[in-house]
């Protein structure tokens, strides 16, 4: 007996310790072994079914081993179209490493199936994009092949894009080839990835290059174009560059080249095919980089290196640019809010002052802010430092910078009026540097702030006036409705009721007079808002009063008992609880009508109408209730207040 209970206790002890230990032991094992995950996973825009292995190290999940993320939906394919994708590769300690393939498909099906080798097959048509190559700790290594093909009936119909680049630890090597459906670009790099020699673009059916970009150790020397069987050669950058900087051949580089060509007023088509192909290629690399960055550490970019002229910004210039950016953003917001203000847009049709200021804002917006906005964009896209400042600024205002005196034509006759911001000195922005642009931005800001102060006040006033107009229309409509109601019933309603109704219209009329006597806009609005509510209640009250005769007969009908009379063998209606109905018709209703006819105002209108409503409901309820005691009490008093108290209709009633 004793030994057995000892044994049980020991067992419990072991169990308890074991349970406490188990999570620790699992974690311990996890640190040692790869875990496998199978299930849904979202990478950027791509949500699919994933299978991968990982390690857990100090609570962090580190991808290690094979990785698959894919999605395809047969139902969607059969119904309409399916966007499928499949990413296959491997990770090493969190870095994408080893062979990788990326596939993106947008397919439709013709819905005809065949059985081939014990499998159902289905033809698909659409677009397939695929990228294939090897990664070395997140960087492309070896040949990367990217293609975009049009598929028709499960067969390749047309290659839309193809890019083949050889990498060495993320740096492009030797030669590359990028082509779309009709053009092929071939070029080469130095070992450090710098563009070198001629990059040639061939078009279908031509044996000679139609566009050639000539690089010398990364510096673009010239572009040669075939236009109308004529070879044109353009120099891009100046020959003697003060300084150069190595950057990636990406979107901003193409923009820099375009700007330089603009400076030279290049007659050739601005958008060469080379730039387009390079941009497309960069897009594909960006897309894959986005996926890989979402899950691991990688730098999947083409890293084509080029050298560009460098005009570094000094500290002052940087500050000036920041200041211009800030001022532009504020001014742009102010100008847009003014130009889109509906009240101002209406007001400017009738008010010349508004029209004048509105037009000045338009001019500032177009002649000052639009070019400044371009500059801000160049700054954001990291272009400003790679083009000569003065040229850039000249190019922003091709017809010269605006004058500080802004002239606009207003009115039907087109009278000219000029604007000049107060306190400004004469033109300070003739020079083509950031300092003068800062002055210009300051002037725009000051001008807009000055104008905004005036226009916003006008807009507010206009809005107020419109509010008042709307309010007055509403009030008049309310009064008309009330008068129509009263006029329509006065003929066939008892005198007592008529008096009450007349006083409702008189009271409303008096309030309206009081309203029109007010002169200040604010007072009008405040008082009008009160009247709006008040007139609504007056209308309700008038309706209740007109309902009274009908409701009285409803009550008279309810306070009847049907009795079968054996002598006549007919059913006779008998009035019951006559004390209550009598009090209702002789005391309560006349009391309310008298009150409404003599002591009505905005404050008590609601009370009267709700009292009438409650009275009706109370009368209907009393028909069913046991009322002998109440009837006895009613017999003793005819005082309206006492009666209302007895009927539980006084708000402040305190019956014992």
């Amino acid at each position: 007996m004793n030994s057995r209970s000892n044994y049980t206790r020991l067992l419990r002890h072991f169990l308890a310790v074991g349970l406490l230990m188990s999570p620790l032991s699992l974690q311990f094992l996890q640190a040692q072994e790869k875990q496998r995950y199978e299930g849904p996973l979202k990478l950027g825009d791509y949500l699919g079914e994933a299978v991968y292995t990982y390690l857990v190290n100090q609570g962090d999940t580190i991808l290690d081993g094979t990785f698959v993320l894919e999605r395809s939906n047969l139902e969607a394919l059969l119904e309409n179209k399916d966007a499928s994708f499949a990413f296959t590769g491997a990770f090493k300690m969190g870095y994408p490493h080893g062979p990788w393939t990326f596939q993106f498909g947008e397919f439709q099906s013709d819905n005809t199936t065949r059985v081939v080798d014990y499998q159902y097959t289905l033809n698909i048509s659409g677009l397939q994009t695929a990228a294939e190559g090897e990664l070395n700790m997140g960087k492309p290594q070896g040949l990367w092949d990217i293609s975009k093909d049009r598929i028709q009936g499960s067969e390749l119909e047309k290659a839309l894009f193809k890019s083949q680049i050889l990498f060495e630890n993320g740096v492009p090597q030797q030669s590359f080839q990028v082509s779309d459906s009709s053009n092929t670009l071939v070029g080469r790099f130095l070992r450090d990835g710098l563009a070198h020699d001629n990059w040639e673009l061939y078009s279908d059916g031509t044996t000679e290059a139609v566009e050639v970009w000539s690089f010398d150790e990364g510096v673009l020397q010239h572009i040669q174009l075939q236009i109308d069987n004529e070879t044109r050669r353009e120099r891009i950058f100046d020959e003697d560059l003060p300084d150069t900087k190595t950057i990636n051949l990406e979107g901003n580089y193409l923009q820099i080249v375009k700007l330089w060509r603009d400076f030279r007023k290049s007659s050739a088509t601005a958008e060469g095919k080379v730039a387009d192909l390079l941009a497309q290629n960069a897009d594909f690399y960006n897309r894959i980089n986005g996926i890989l960055s979402a899950i691991g550490t990688s730098s999947f970019r083409p890293e084509f290196k080029v050298k560009v002229p460098f005009f570094p910004l000094d500290t002052i210039e940087n500050k000036q640019l920041d200041s211009i950016t800030t001022m532009f953003e504020n001014s742009y917001a102010v100008s847009q809010s003014l130009l889109k203000d509906t009240h101002l847009n209406i007001l400017k049709l009738s008010d010349e002052e508004t029209e004048y200021l509105y037009k000045v804002v338009s001019v500032i917006s177009e002649e000052f802010l639009l070019p400044l906005g371009e500059l801000v964009r160049y700054q954001r896209e990291d272009i400003v430092e790679y083009v000569p400042r003065d040229q850039l600024i000249r190019q922003l205002w091709p017809t010269g910078k605006p004058s500080e005196v802004i002239t606009v034509a207003i009115g039907d006759e087109g009278n000219r009026r000029t604007f000049k911001a107060p306190g400004s000195t004469t033109n300070q922005w003739e020079e083509h540097n950031l300092n003068s642009l800062q002055q210009l931005a300051e002037y725009a800001t000051t001008s807009l702030d000055t104008i905004a102060a005036v226009l916003q006040a006008k807009s507010t006033l206009k809005r107020r006036e419109q509010e008042v107009i709307q309010l007055e229309e509403l009030l008049l409509a309310q009064v008309n409705q009330l008068n129509m109601l009263v006029d329509s019933v006065t003929q066939n309603i008892p005198v007592l009721h008529q008096r009450a109704l007349q006083n409702i219209t008189t009271t409303v009329g008096n309030y309206l007079k009081e309203y029109s006597a007010k002169e200040q806009l604010d007072q009008k609005v405040a008082f009008g808002e009160r009247l709006k509510q008040c007139f609504k209640e007056m209308d309700t009250l008038a309706k209740r009063v007109t309902q009274l005769p009908e409701r009285s007969s409803e009550i008279a009908g309810v306070y009847q008992d049907a009795v079968w009379n054996p002598f006549t063998t007919t059913i006779m209606n008998e009035r019951v609880k006559k004390r209550i109905t009598g009090t209702y018709t002789k005391v309560v209703v006349p009391y309310f009508l008298e009150q409404i006819a003599t002591a009505l105002d905005c404050e008590n209108a609601k009370t009267y109408s709700s009292s009438l409503e409650r009275l009706h409901l109370r009368m209907l309820a009393l028909r069913e209730e046991e009322t002998r005691k109440l009837e006895r009490k009613l017999k003793k008093t005819q005082d309206p207040i006492a009666v209302l108290r007895l009927l539980n209709l006084l708000d402040t009633e305190n019956e014992d």
């Binding site: 009379n565 054996p566 063998t569 007919t570 006779m572």
Partner: protein, 275 residues
């Protein structure tokens, strides 16, 4: 349907009676050459009618009538003629049809001023009644069949009870005068005609006991109280000789009351009998 059956029955009985009357030989009294009509007697009646609701279907019919008649010196109200106590239990078949069964004790006073006989004798009856009402425009029309089994005796000391049956049919209308229907506050006029036939061994020839033609003006105070007053002319064969006719002019006053002694909750709804 029921109404039709009862009417048929009534006419069959009437036919049989008339047939037997025609074939029977006349005995005793000799019929005059032509009918003689006595001078009209003047009378005044004070009648109370109570219909007391005792259940959804049943009511107690309680009537007390005081009937006066002329003396040599005083017309109409000279002396008491009869005191009537008529009771029955009524059954409400539907809103427009009801039946009653009960008894009557009538106290008959000897109104023959020169008689030496007893002053008061009782008269017993068993009676049953079938009433059918029908609305017509704003008025109501009523058919009433009342059958009485009647035991009467004369005022003479040694007089025996004789047994007779009475067969009564009354057609009556109530026409509201100041309203579109019979309701409280309504004044109505009520013309009525009642034929009272009788049969029995004692009835030899005098089968038409009474033919009453009345017009009444009534007022409904409330569903439980009405008052009415009217004038009636009546005539009928005397029991002694079928060739002689009595005639009467009677002023009638009526009070109708119909209290409901049921509890309030049983009354609602007041007009539904079958719920």
């Amino acid at each position: 349907m029921k109404q039709h059956n009862y009417l048929s029955l009534y006419f069959v009985i009437l036919f049989v009676l008339l047939a037997s009357w025609g074939t029977q030989a006349q005995e005793g009294e000799v019929l005059p050459e032509e009918s003689t009509f006595k001078d009209p007697k003047t009378r005044i009646w004070f009648n109370t009618y109570g219909l007391i609701r005792i259940s959804p279907r049943l009511f107690w019919d309680a009537q007390t009538h005081f009937r006066f008649e002329e003396t040599e010196a005083t017309p109409f109200i000279g002396q008491i003629g009869q005191i009537y106590n008529r009771h029955a239990i009524g059954y409400i078949y539907s809103k427009n049809i009801n039946f009653s069964l009960g008894g009557v004790l009538r106290v008959n006073f000897n109104t023959n001023e020169s008689s030496e006989d007893q002053n008061v004798v009782p008269e017993w009856r068993i009676w049953h009644q079938y009433q059918f009402a029908m609305p017509m425009y704003t008025a109501m029309i009523y058919h009433r069949i009342r059958i009485e089994h009647r035991w009467t005796r004369g005022f003479a000391e040694d007089s025996d009870f004789i047994f007779r049956n009475r067969w009564r049919y009354m057609l009556r209308a109530k026409v509201p005068l100041n309203s579109t229907k019979l309701e409280p506050g309504t004044m109505y006029v009520s013309p009525e005609a009642e034929l009272i036939m009788q049969s029995g061994k004692a009835v030899v020839g005098s089968v038409m006991e009474d033919l009453r033609l009345t017009t009444t003006l009534g007022y409904i105070l409330n569903p439980r109280l009405q008052i009415a007053a009217g004038l009636m002319y009546s005539q009928g064969q005397t029991l002694q000789n079928a060739g002689n006719f009595n005639q009467n002019w009677t002023i009638r006053f009526h009070v109708y009351f119909s209290p409901d002694i049921r509890k309030v909750k049983d009354k609602l709804p007041a007009i539904h009998f079958t719920d």
